[in-house]
Amino acid sequence: MQAELLSVRDLSVSFATEGGVARVLDAVSLTLRAGEIMGLVGESGCGKTTLARSILGALPPNAQVRGTALSFAGQDLLTLDPRVVADRVRGRAITFVPQDPFSAFNPLFTVGDQVTELLRWKSPDRRPGEYFYPRARRRADRGRALAMLRAVHLADPPRLLTKYPHELSGGQRQRVMIAMALLPEPKLVIADEPTTALDVTIQAQILKLLRTLANEHGASVLFTTHDLGTAWEICDRVTVMYAGQTLETAPIEAFVRRPMVPYTRLLLESLPSRNAALQGIPGDVPSLVSPPSGCRFHPRCPQASDACRAEHPAVSEQSAGHYVRCHHPQLTAVEAAAV
């Protein structure tokens, strides 16, 4: 059993919106171990991106955050000095791969400028609080950057650094993003739907690249996706979310073959398969301003009971590494879905 790297306990995040206060995350819990790749799966609006950003500490100023603990490598990020978090954690111990690599680059500066900017503040050689960028370190960092660009299978790295973002292809841009995420030698890489904006043909390549490099550098990966196929590709474990609540966490095999939470089962069954007719989940995603009480899935759940309406269940471990938050977990085998 690897060491626990990240532990989120009862994290709640809400925003003030025009229609009222939206409770985007409701007592979310999650654990991540060192070196593992976890997928955060859910429909649009389920809060997976907000959760990813909460861990990064990159929420908008009008977000209200409450939680028991958000501990990373033994430190509680909720109580740590924000300046320390910005300097040592963000971009260094925890890095980020964005969904759209095109808009994540500043169009007015070259790729090399932006990589250099990152390394100036986040290179492993940097001393904490250092402001200037000594020439020796600059040279060493450049070598580091070129090596990493080669590791992500980009051709002619020196020339690439002189280009502007709009001169690269989508796949190239995302590879540079992955390189930038790994250069600071992080313990955790958070990827927000890293392949959604890419062509299908290169999605698998990028994902495998991410896994290989993460394993090589001993980094954990937490990546969000709405596509179970993507999760299947590289994840060790998967967590599913619905309407701001975490429902089930399991190793990928168990998640796909033996899910215990009704929502997960329905989600898997709704995947298109050659044998069965297309099947959705009846009902609509609830509003986050006035969500259902207790377990937010209960209005659409075939197993809903009064307990479900009353309160969102606590985390319970059903078997090794398989955690659920459900009043009625059931062990059923799922028809082989075309994952």
Partner: protein
């Protein structure tokens, strides 16, 4: 309509609207509101250059006329010039822009080249040239302003129509057999309507400023017409003693233009989300 309600919640936009309504009211009811309505045309030399007081609220001018009353009647001139000039410019410029933007032929190019020539010179410079040629009269001011303003609209609508041409809903309309006129009138026009409304409002303010400048330079309606710009020009010879003579019309211009600008800004925030500044959502 939630857009209208959002506008009503915008306090500065409502202030602007209030100012404009007040302006119109003042212009319409100038006769009863004025203390000395006859001062628009008659002279009282013994009363010249008196400071503000209980009888002459804003003081008197070099002819002894009550500035307050003349100011009220000047509002009529201001509104007349602004509304007519802007309307003519929009009524000419928008269709020209639509046609030029919709088609891509030589006529379209020519129309835009012509607009570019007009826009190559700052509006006031060209307006001065035209007004000077035609002579100081209110209709000449309106003409000069309209002629120098329509190309701005043509360019604006041209750019928006051009970018809309590639939108799917336009392609759909064309595919369904709509005639070009129909497409322009029923599909393109509504899409650009909000942009036109916003800029018309702000444009009124700008037109008033240019008209006042023309009046200041002596190219506006001749005396004794109480045009605000001319009143300020007249006051120069009597400064610094008769400060009220310059202050009153200037403040009037300031308030009116500010009213249009505030309302225009409010309309922009409500109608044209693309131009909205910065996002608030999390």
């Amino acid at each position: 309509m939630s857009a209208l309600r959002r506008l009503m919640r915008d306090r500065s936009a409502m202030l602007g609207l209030a100012i404009i309504v007040a302006l119109v009211a003042v212009a319409v009811f100038a006769t009863p509101l004025a203390t000395f309505p006859q001062d628009v045309t008659t002279y009282h030399p013994p009363n010249r250059l008196l400071p503000p007081g209980p009888k002459f609220w804003f003081g008197t001018d070099r002819m002894g006329g009550d500035i307050y009353s003349r100011l009220l009647f000047g509002a009529r001139i201001t509104i007349l010039i602004a509304v007519v000039a802007t309307s003519v410019a929009v009524l000419i410029g928008v269709p020209v822009g639509l046609v030029a933007g919709y088609y891509t032929n030589r006529v379209s190019d020519l129309l835009m080249r012509v607009s570019d020539v007009f826009l190559a010179v700052p509006q006031i410079v060209l307006a001065i040239a035209i007004a000077q040629t035609l002579g100081p009269a209110i209709q000449n001011v309106i003409l000069a302003l309209s002629v120098t303003y329509w190309p701005f609209w043509a360019r604006l609508v041209y750019a928006e129509t051009r970018s809309l041409r590639n939108e799917v809903f336009i392609e759909a309309a064309v595919a369904l057999g709509a005639s070009p006129l129909r497409v322009m009138a029923l599909h393109v026009l509504p899409s650009i309507a909000s942009s036109v409304i916003v800029r018309t409002t702000i444009g009124m303010g700008g037109t008033i400023l240019v008209a006042a400048a023309l009046g200041f330079l002596g190219l506006g309606p001749p005396p004794p017409t109480p045009e605000w710009g001319r009143m300020i020009a007249e006051s120069r010879a009597f400064l610094p003693q008769a400060w009220w003579y310059a202050a009153a019309p200037g403040i009037a211009i300031l308030l009116v233009v500010m009213g249009f600008n505030l309302l225009g800004d409010g309309l922009r925030d409500v109608l044209d989300p693309r131009l909205r500044r910065g996002g608030d959502a999390g």
